[in-house]
Amino acid sequence: MPKTKINIKNISYFYGEKQALNNVTLDVPEKEITVFFGPAGGGKTTILRLINRLNDLVEGTKLEGKIYVDGRDIYSPETNVPDLRRQVGMVFALPLPLPGTVRENVLYGPMLAHINGRAQEDEILYRSLSQAALWDEVKDRLDDPASELSGGQQQRLCIARSLALEPDVLLLDEPTSGLDPISTAKVEESLFALKEEYTIIIVPHSIQQAGRVADRAAFFLMGELIEYKPGKELFTNPQQEKTEDYITGRFG
């Protein structure tokens, strides 16, 4: 069993009156791909956005329980939130390139962290775009507007943009939901390469994808964690009836 990177302890979460998560506890291991899956509204995205405190931006919410990254309580007052978000990167469901060029997109995070200098910037560009399996396609288009890339390229650009900050953890929220099968395969390939160095949590956009990429898998249903174990076990031999029903397509 590899080292634990993220401990989630008894998390409950509310949007106003509505409860989105109910007493969820799980440990995410380092340098593996952990999959959060389940029907829509199960709380998968919410939990992702809690791990890098993006949900701070939403008004009128309430959190109970604790989340630790590297053993540190990320909701303690001492946490520097921008630093946490640099450590825990996020890729969203839709490709969301920022206005500007490919180069500006990749270097946006480093720029905010005051990392600059030509040599360093070039190194970051090459490293992160290669890791996202995009370098060969855009190396001659670094100064083109990011919005001119194809959808699949834009999404890999967003992955590269997160990788530019050398995070420990990468959170991906249905990163291939808008992509064609070939682009999807490319993104998945880059994920396999990335798990050598990064802890990855992904909300897949289909059961099939969950099966393909999961080292460990967690099944969420209506804000509750139903089952959590190594991917192969969970998809071939689920213990919970609800998990089995969902995997075999009886609902959802």
Partner: protein
């Protein structure tokens, strides 16, 4: 990864954000400041001048006669006449460009109406004097500089506001309302007046209120074309006689009064009345805006 100037940078961010908050609150500060100054300079007038004098029909500051009724009624007469002229024309135009005419009509009309909104009031006043007044006189008025001339100019000055706010109001009416009207066999015309316009009613009220506020506060154009006679507009032909508004009185007389005199305080007192009137008018307009927001932010 950790830049050395980190604490310093956080301080500058903290400073900027504090400044932004301060600037955000400043609007309240300015409204209060304006109100306080008007109170401080205007209230003494209401103590120094006996009530009987204040409510008399004569405004002759040279003889210490400070009857504000002719000014108040002059403002009301001119403003209400202006609104009566402006509302049907403006709402008609808004309905035409939003509901009845092809899009190019709007593309043509919009810049002209924006241009009208941009013409300085002193230019309109000047044109009122040189172009409109002679026509009014030809219609039989003893002079061209009358309440009606002012109302006409004011009507045009308030049209851009009314048209654009009314247009927005019509725009917020869901398309399904129109479809429902048409599918029940109503003509386009019937659908507009029985379904769409009633649905946009509160927005159109806002438009009229904002136009009213704009008209009652207008100064230069009114001062130049109404003849500025402070007389009670009580007879039927008052509309075609000179009149004088509160705004014009302040503008015309403030330059000549001694600071601290009764007349000076009196002019601030009139300013206070104007402030209060527009405050109430805008409050009514705003309340319909806020109500609309509450009902549904998304449309």
């Amino acid at each position: 990864m950790n830049p050395p100037d980190k604490t310093q940078r956080n301080w500058s961010t903290f400073f900027i954000e504090a400044l932004i908050r301060l600037l955000g609150f400043s609007s309240i500060g300015f409204v209060l400041l304006i109100f306080l100054f008007l109170l401080q300079e205007g209230i003494p007038a209401f103590f120094q001048v006996p009530l009987g004098n204040l409510l008399s029909e004569l405004w002759y500051p040279t003889f210490d006669l400070y009857g504000i009724l002719p000014l108040l009624l002059g403002s009301l007469l001119i403003t209400l006449t202006a609104i009566l002229i402006a509302v049907p024309l403006s709402v008609g135009t808004a309905v035409l460009v939003r509901e009845a005419a092809p899009p190019w009509v709007r593309e043509v009309l919009k810049p002209m109406i924006e241009a009208l909104a941009g013409i300085p009031s002193v230019v309109l006043g000047f044109l009122g004097m040189t172009l409109v007044a002679p026509i009014v006189q030809k219609l039989g008025a003893p002079t061209g500089l009358t309440a009606f001339t002012g109302a006409l100019i004011l009507a045009y000055m308030s049209m851009p506001t009314i048209i654009s706010v009314a247009e927005d109001a019509l725009d917020t009416v869901p398309k399904s309302y129109r479809d429902a009207g048409l599918s029940m066999g109503a003509t386009k015309w019937q659908t507009i007046w029985r379904v769409v316009v009633p649905a946009a009613r509160s927005g159109i009220v806002t438009a009229v209120m904002l136009g009213l506020g704009r008209a009652i506060g207008e100064t230069m154009a009114v001062m130049m074309v109404t003849g500025n006679a402070a007389r009670m507009p009580l007879s039927l032909d008052s509309l075609f006689r000179p009149a004088r508004t509160m705004t014009a009185t302040i503008a015309a007389e403030m330059g000549e009064v001694a600071h601290g005199s009764i007349h000076y305080h009196m002019l601030f007192g009139i300013g206070l009345i104007l402030f209060t009137l527009t405050f109430i008018i805008n409050l009514i307009a705003a309340s319909t805006i806020f109500k609309k927001r509450k009902k549904g932010g998304l449309r």
